[in-house]
Symmetry: C2
Subunit: 428 residues, 2 copies
Amino acid sequence: MDNLSLKEQTERAKEAGFHLASASCELRNKALRNIALNLNSSRTAIFEENRRDLKEAEENDLKKVLYNRLRFDEKKMNSLIEGINDLIALEDPVGKCLQKTELDSGLILTKVTTPIGLIGVIFESRPDAFVQIAALCLKSGNSVILKGGSEAKNTLRILYDVINKALIETHNVFKDTLQLVETREDVKELLKLDYLIDLMIPRGSNQLVRYIKENTRIPVLGHADGICHVYVDKEADLNMALEITVDAKCQYPAVCNAVETLLVHQDIADIFLPGLNEKMTDVELRGDERTQKLISVHEATEEDWHTEYNDLILSIKIVDSLTEAVRHINRYGSHHTDAIVTENEDSARRFLQEVDSSSVMWNCSTRLADGFRYGLGAEVGISTNKIHARGPVGLEGLTIYKYKLTGKGHTAAEYASGEKTFTHRKLS
Amino acid sequence: MDNLSLKEQTERAKEAGFHLASASCELRNKALRNIALNLNSSRTAIFEENRRDLKEAEENDLKKVLYNRLRFDEKKMNSLIEGINDLIALEDPVGKCLQKTELDSGLILTKVTTPIGLIGVIFESRPDAFVQIAALCLKSGNSVILKGGSEAKNTLRILYDVINKALIETHNVFKDTLQLVETREDVKELLKLDYLIDLMIPRGSNQLVRYIKENTRIPVLGHADGICHVYVDKEADLNMALEITVDAKCQYPAVCNAVETLLVHQDIADIFLPGLNEKMTDVELRGDERTQKLISVHEATEEDWHTEYNDLILSIKIVDSLTEAVRHINRYGSHHTDAIVTENEDSARRFLQEVDSSSVMWNCSTRLADGFRYGLGAEVGISTNKIHARGPVGLEGLTIYKYKLTGKGHTAAEYASGEKTFTHRKLS
């Protein structure tokens, strides 16, 4: 990092990105292979630095959940290296021809995928995320500037050195493509460099994502909230509905695709809810007025419909109809992931069509919304944006396209005068 | 507009968008047909309102170029109606299956295009742009809130009434999908409604686009600058280079895809530039030091390389190599449209690969970068964004996708435990 200013670091990464964009997939894969090898042979040194961070964390009484994320052990290392090998095997996301058109004789337009450019990534704790994201950006030909949590600083420094060494040894084109920044002040500065950074990806708490979104003009990929719903229709298989609800709430309650609010059709509420209440003994249930008449639960207020608990708490509302369920979800949800349980195909189709969320599901658990599970190979994150990339985002979300037009001296005047006309013939 | 507050108007448009997203293409096309019919039969009334605006503009000494844009005549009306009919003929951009994967037996994932939601559009002068944009949003299933120039207020009001009447008469689903706002204060308010508006499209001057980008958290589609280059390589056909340069500068200098800076390889500069100087008598040429030694031109300063003239002015720089040309373009350009003239295919491929612009061209004029010319059917605008949509943007840029997952009670726990595994089989 050579004591460069943050702006210089970012400028270097930007410039490096222009060259990286032309590196062949073979070369990018070779760099990934070398990173995996270097990580493997540097285990001892990496774990040692990680223990320094863990020791400091203990002294600072870091929260247990953060402490666990900070720990970098054999298991995490193995899964990281496996992930990099999977990434190598994935199809090149860059240079794909999306469209080819003959505009006129000798005038050929192609639309080709390209890297986005320079990606800014800000993440909390997990040092393994640093490696994952660096690898994803490399595979997709993007340079990247990363800021991790200060509690992981020793681990991140050695990981940066190990990865950067592998990059530079592979080829000079990778020089400067990976940059690490360390301080909170750097983040503030980074967010101002909208003329250099093309896309910002925050990975961490809702607070972090919201802070980034509110403090930069750089486009931000991600989601702040994950307020997901399961709607149990009047024609639901109630056993299935119970299993899906339990899975969606309890299998891993701390994550964004866990369910927060259960909507139940009034016609089956009196049969379904007592069973749910019996089964979900570990979960704090909060219900609207009608729910409270059927089972003994805490009161759910307006605020509950807006809340992502990330915990074993579930709010319940009885609705009159599918229409009311859809309206509730579109109004209070975070447009992340929402599911209907029903045996009626028409109702399911309506739900999937009308609910405005990145993932909409029929008869399965919201917890299935995930890049790996969706078969995208690797996941950058889950986006609730309405532009660019939505839902679980894989390598494709790290690419854009350019139009390449090749002619034989073609000018606009010839077409404006009517001398020539366009053919617009699609080529395979 | 019923004296609603701007926030209420926007909320209505947002809600209406949810319903519009489910309207069939047949119904959307029917509404477009009715709009075309209504416009046709309301010509007299529309032209009358337009004359009121024109009269006021004369009294206010509106600039000639703006006055011309404001004028709404038979010719513009005919081309508008023709444009709507072309739009009806275009393939439905919504509901396209982009990908279908079997995640496991009975668990099917589809990725389907959807409208974005609520689009905010701010444009200057041209009342015909109002109709065009409303039609594009309607075809792509988006609701839209529009603000036009105050100098066109009477024309816009009647156009709004004519179009809205056609919408409501077609079907109740189109109620509230089109909203018009009128004042500058409204724009300020609009830019704050990032939780309602999904995408902002400014159409107008660089100043307008820059203002919008700097004052909102809503994603903005468009470009502020169009600093385009033509690079004449040492292996260029110099006659072709001359014709392309003249076309790119002179055919319509006020537009974003006109060339602003000419880069000339040093090996052919002494042959090429005198010919150019002779031919471009209408154009003010500004050159770097080396250019000034070859032809009599004004001095080009650092500022010139950053300047979009939008006028008959051309800056010229002599470069040592293709590499220097690419570096200049990536540094000073606006990543809009840049062209190389050369007979050497390798040099051309390098240029197309390495120049980081939305359109890169070989042996043809930058003026060809345009949605209609590219065969996109209709153009929303040209984007220099690095995410979502880049270059000339058609209907596709007004869509995003959602993932639909249908199962038979599938839960995440079954896969986490290893009881089941994913198949990830691509379906056609």
